[in-house]
């Protein structure tokens, strides 16, 4: 009896552990079975190119011809290249202003669509249309609109206003690129934020109304905290996308006037595929990777203070 009672407590957990281990092993295989294509894809298309570009960044590597190993010379050159700092600053300005405007506009439109307006689905589609249209097509249309003799300046001139040179004046060019980019992409965030707003329980909003809150108080103290996960998602993704901006400056301004709208990815692309310096372009790509990673890490660190996952 005593011996039996000694055995029972120790054998029961062992059996449970055995069963748990068996389940975990088979679960692991199932997980692996489903993951292997993704892992193969990740390794082939992300990890290997990432390491490959790190290797290429240590070479003077033309598109055709023999590469020459130069160690960290590309990185040294980069830090003494004034254009590198210019495009970095341009990209940071673009990313922060574009993300802020994008989220503000998307939030405003989402709140409006969430009121009891007529044809809200129709408006949602209208706002989403630019996001599903190719960026290059949108940029070409904007270029026609904003040319010195384009429709915008023609309209302004009919009102007695001499419109500026939106694409060639350094004071306006970056703002124009930002405006076009916001118009192009805020529709996506409208969809995400609308979904977030739609998931707020009506009882909570009703309760806050009964407590006598006004619209601003409800937005600040109820709605924004409730959609903070959606806001965090849109902010992170928009910021990452913003650092990769390429088509808009390429089509609208070619990076000009001067370097006023030249962005990191545009400069990287030109170095790699126009100026035939794959090594230098890879070094630029690595710096961009580090910058984007740092900013994303900061966003994740900061989210603890304002993102509310409680339901």
């Amino acid at each position: 009896m005593f011996a039996g009672s000694e055995i029972r407590p120790s054998s029961a957990p062992q059996a449970t552990r055995f069963r748990t281990n068996k389940i975990r092993e088979s679960d692991g295989l199932v997980v692996l079975a489903y993951l292997w294509p993704g892992l193969v894809g990740f390794t082939t298309f992300i990890l290997v190119p990432l390491l490959g570009s790190l290797l290429i960044s240590m070479f003077e590597w033309p598109l055709f011809g023999t590469p020459t190993f130069i160690g960290f010379a590309n990185y040294q050159k980069m830090f003494s290249d004034p254009t590198f700092y210019t495009v970095l600053v341009n990209t940071v300005i673009f990313a922060f202003v574009y993300t802020a405007l994008n989220l503000l506009l998307a939030l405003a439109v989402s709140l409006w669509l969430n009121t009891k307006i007529k044809f809200s689905s129709f408006w949602r589609v209208i706002f989403f249309l630019p996001a599903i249209t190719p960026v290059i097509a949108n940029a070409l249309v904007w270029r026609l609109l904003l040319n010195d003799n384009g429709i915008v300046n023609s309209v302004l001139s009919s009102g007695g206003i001499t419109g500026p040179s939106w694409l060639s004046d350094a004071s306006f060019a970056l703002s124009t690129v930002i405006a076009m980019s916001v118009w192009q992409s805020f529709g996506y965030n409208v969809i995400v934020l609308s979904a977030g707003l739609g998931s707020i329980p009506q009882e909570i909003l009703e309760a806050s109304r009964m407590d006598g809150t006004n619209a601003w108080q409800r937005l600040r103290s109820v709605i924004l905290p409730m959609i903070s996960p959606s806001l965090f998602f849109t902010m992170t993704m928009t910021m990452i996308g913003a650092f990769q901006v390429f088509v808009q400056p390429q089509v609208l301004t070619q990076g000009g006037p001067g370097e006023s709208t030249n962005t990191f990815v545009l400069y990287m692309y030109r170095n790699g595929f126009v100026f035939d310096r794959l090594g230098y372009a890879s070094a630029l790509a690595w710096i961009l990777f580090v910058v984007v990673m740092l900013i994303t890490a900061l966003q994740f660190a900061g989210q603890r203070k304002w993102v509310n996952y409680d339901k």
Binding site: K22, F64, S168, T253, P257, G258
Partner: protein, 415 residues
């Protein structure tokens, strides 16, 4: 236990099968690589449109009259993509043997193109029959890298109707800058500008060469040359000081300025003779041709043109050179001059370009070719063009001087 194990196995199996199917589908979605035709010389070139294809087929079909065994297959991307893709294409499998290049890009593609001097000597080809400026343009490190098929001196097109209406004398084989400015100011009325300008360095370069000033000296980029700065400044001044042209945006392609000319929105434009047929078919006015204005008024042409070269890793350079000889024969170039409107690089074929054009036009081209300079470049010319497109906008607007713009570009390229 047994049931659980079976279920787990089934899940694992389903997982692998599903994942495999999805991967296979994903694989099917991507395109496969084609294999080149055998027994022929493959040519990699720009193929932006059906018109480009017809041009290359014209060379091949006419070349068959010279050499019935000529068998050239063509492949390639758009003109814009060509300059990047040609480098990667040669690094890949089954690289093509024949390449095309512009004289302005010969330095950039120098590393891809085989020196042809030995083949020229071995085959006793008479290269003195070709336009010397174009041969100079195709020379890299002292060796010829491509045989030119055209030699197109940059010209100034003008609207004869507009000139006549304004009571202006029609310019012919001489045209001074003073006269050009005087004419342009009379043609500029209100928002209507006389002269069309597009971004990029090609046209300011032709403007400078018309006065005998070059951007490349002894194979080195010489943008800080004060004479070049003066020339480019005088070109910027056409917008900012003289007011005879509208400032281009950096992203404005040459098409925009060309469309403005054929629509009658501007009265003059600088372009190549290869555009004659296109302009003539679109313009609803009588079109004239003159030289790019120079200070003295005398003709000094900047030649642009393209040619056939052989890839450095070509396994049959003899066969490729044989094909080039056939495609640059006098008969072929004459035919292409008539059919496609190219100005042939062979001197004895150049008269063919005059067919179907007013006598004045041919005289202008001949005058320019008599005193022509190729658009000489450096390997980093792409960077020069790109930076000038970006910075030139500030020059046209008067925000920066030509000296500042050119010094910035020289410094950037030198880094």
């Amino acid at each position: 236990m047994a049931g659980q194990s079976k279920s787990a196995k089934r899940r694992i199996g389903t997982g692998f099968v599903l994942a495999g199917v999805l991967t296979a589908l994903a694989g099917c979605a991507s395109g496969g690589s084609g294999s080149p035709a055998n027994g022929s010389v493959s040519m990699y070139t720009w193929l932006s449109s059906q018109s480009d294809r017809e041009q290359w087929e014209g060379f091949i079909n006419l070349g068959k009259k010279v050499d019935p065994t000529l068998n050239v297959t063509i492949e390639g991307p758009s003109f814009t993509d060509y300059w990047t893709k040609v480098k990667t294409r040669l690094s890949g499998s089954n690289p093509p043997c024949l390449l095309t290049t512009q004289a302005a890009r010969a330095q950039e593609l120098g590393g891809l193109l085989m020196p042809l001097n030995d083949l020229i000597k071995k085959n006793k080809s008479d290269i003195s029959a070709f336009d010397s400026s174009m041969l100079k343009g195709m020379t890299v490190d002292g060796t010829i890298r491509a045989i030119p098929y055209d030699a197109e001196p940059i010209v100034l097109y003008y609207n004869i109707d507009a000139f006549s209406k304004a009571g202006l004398k029609l310019p012919t084989t001489t045209y001074s800058r003073e006269q050009f400015l005087s004419d342009a100011k009379k043609l500029t009325t209100g928002s209507h500008k006389a002269f069309g300008i597009s971004s990029g360095f090609f046209l300011p370069n032709a403007w400078a060469i018309a006065d005998g000033v070059e951007a490349v000296n002894n194979g080195k980029l010489d943008l800080t040359n004060p004479r070049l700065a003066d020339q480019v400044q005088s070109y910027f001044d056409l917008v900012n000081k003289e007011g005879i042209a509208a400032a281009p945006n950096a992203s404005d392609s040459t098409d925009a300025a060309q469309a403005a000319f054929t629509n009658g929105d501007v009265d003059m434009i600088i372009s190549g003779p290869w555009m004659y047929g296109t302009f003539a078919s679109k313009a609803k006015f009588q079109m004239g041709l003159t030289i790019v204005p120079s200070t003295s008024g005398a003709a000094h042409g900047m030649t642009a043109g393209s040619g056939f070269g052989i890839a450095k890793n070509c396994k049959d350079p003899e066969g490729a050179f044989k094909a080039i000889r056939a495609m640059t024969d006098t008969i072929v170039l004459k035919g292409q001059a008539v059919n496609r409107g190219i100005v042939p690089s062979r001197l004895e074929a150049q008269s063919a370009w005059a067919e179907g054009k007013p006598p004045g036009a041919a005289a202008v081209v001949q005058a320019l070719l008599r005193n022509a300079t190729a658009q000489l470049t450096v390997p980093a010319w792409n960077q020069v063009e790109t930076l000038f497109t970006q910075y030139g906008v500030e020059g046209y607007r008067g925000d920066k001087t030509a000296k500042e713009v050119l010094a910035t570009i020289q410094k950037s390229v030198g880094q």
